[in-house]
Amino acid sequence: MSIERHEIYEQDSGAYVLEALSEEEHTRFTRHLMECHLCQDDVDRLQRAVHALPRSVTPLFAPPRLRAAVMQEVRSDLGEATDRPGLLARLRGRFAGAGSLRLRAVSLSAAGILFIGLIGGFGLSQLVDDGGGGGGERVLTAQFDKSRMASGSGNLVIAGKSADAGGTLRVHGMASLPGDETYQVWLQRNGETIPKALFNVGEDGNGLTAVDGRLDDADVVMVTREAAGGARSPTRKPVLTVKL
């Protein structure tokens, strides 16, 4: 490779590592790199500075729901049951014991309900909770910290007999929060506090949220008030708790 040819490309190395070259220039430079050790060295050096750039960013929390969404896709790829079973699985739990023909019919109608629900803009937890009538539900009363949420009331409905069916938390009379705050659900199991869903209540103080994951071996479901985006561990005392 001639020095003259290197000089043509020399100035491109910074833009190359920043991915700021046009597609055509990028291809040309990549081809040149294969034969030019001077540019390879330059790129290696500058790349170190580029790798430092993302480390200059103010550290933020990733929202807890992001973890749930990512892990759901991972488990789905593996063909495992997810923490949050689908609507059909929940309904199957409710109708456990019914004959296979009936189960198939329920599955088909549930698929129809899901489709209509999605078209109508309803959330999954609303569909499941409002369905009513299924066997094996447990309804547990939420205990509120009356010093901070005097008019609060609510309950946790654990859906079906399935161990990992999750539940639905319905609350009333809770304070509606400003945009920079959220309520966050937590699950306590064997001394570990696991972040769960974020939710808010309407102006009327009513709210509804799904509580995903296994509840059969959990000790407590609780809700705290947190900064928008949620927290990895509770930063305030719970406003409500449900002993399981």
Partner: protein, 191 residues
Amino acid sequence: MTPGQDLSNLADEEIMHLVQDGDPRAFELFYDRHSGPAFSLAYRMVGNRTVAEDVSQEAFVSIWRSRLRYQSDRGSVRTWVLGIVHHRAIDALRRNTVHDKRRASAEGIEERFEAPEQTDVEAARREEARTVRAAIDELPSEQVRVIELAYFGGFSHSQIADQLEMPIGTVKGRMRLGLDKLRRTLVGEPA
């Protein structure tokens, strides 16, 4: 690995080996270690929380699905993760879905869900961020500008040249000089 084994003391590289074996529990830990920096970078680039979540989710799912492509001799796990997040965020920016929304970043939304220093790891990340920012602050402002527009803004050199009304050659030169000076500052090499 045994089912009850505590993975939390394993190094990133060791966790990555388990992830490459398709272990979802290892991937959860992998996610817990890298999701903060990944989300922070995505948010810094797109300036919108919802889009940053989408970008981070796409990146982690892509990391899971392409986990066998990771090669330790080509850089640290964290560099690899942040590189993928960066690409995804640039894709989002170039799809032009967020250029308007990202102006919201100037409103100080970051402060609302900035990670408090609760653990040594978070404290170390903050310290690292301060060190890198201090090194960036030592660069001439015109070099910082072209580097940040390219890296965090996803703009090409010709777009930057248009915006700043300067020749493309000047933009390229400032990128190269600025990155070289940044590297020297970070490794303590004299200019």
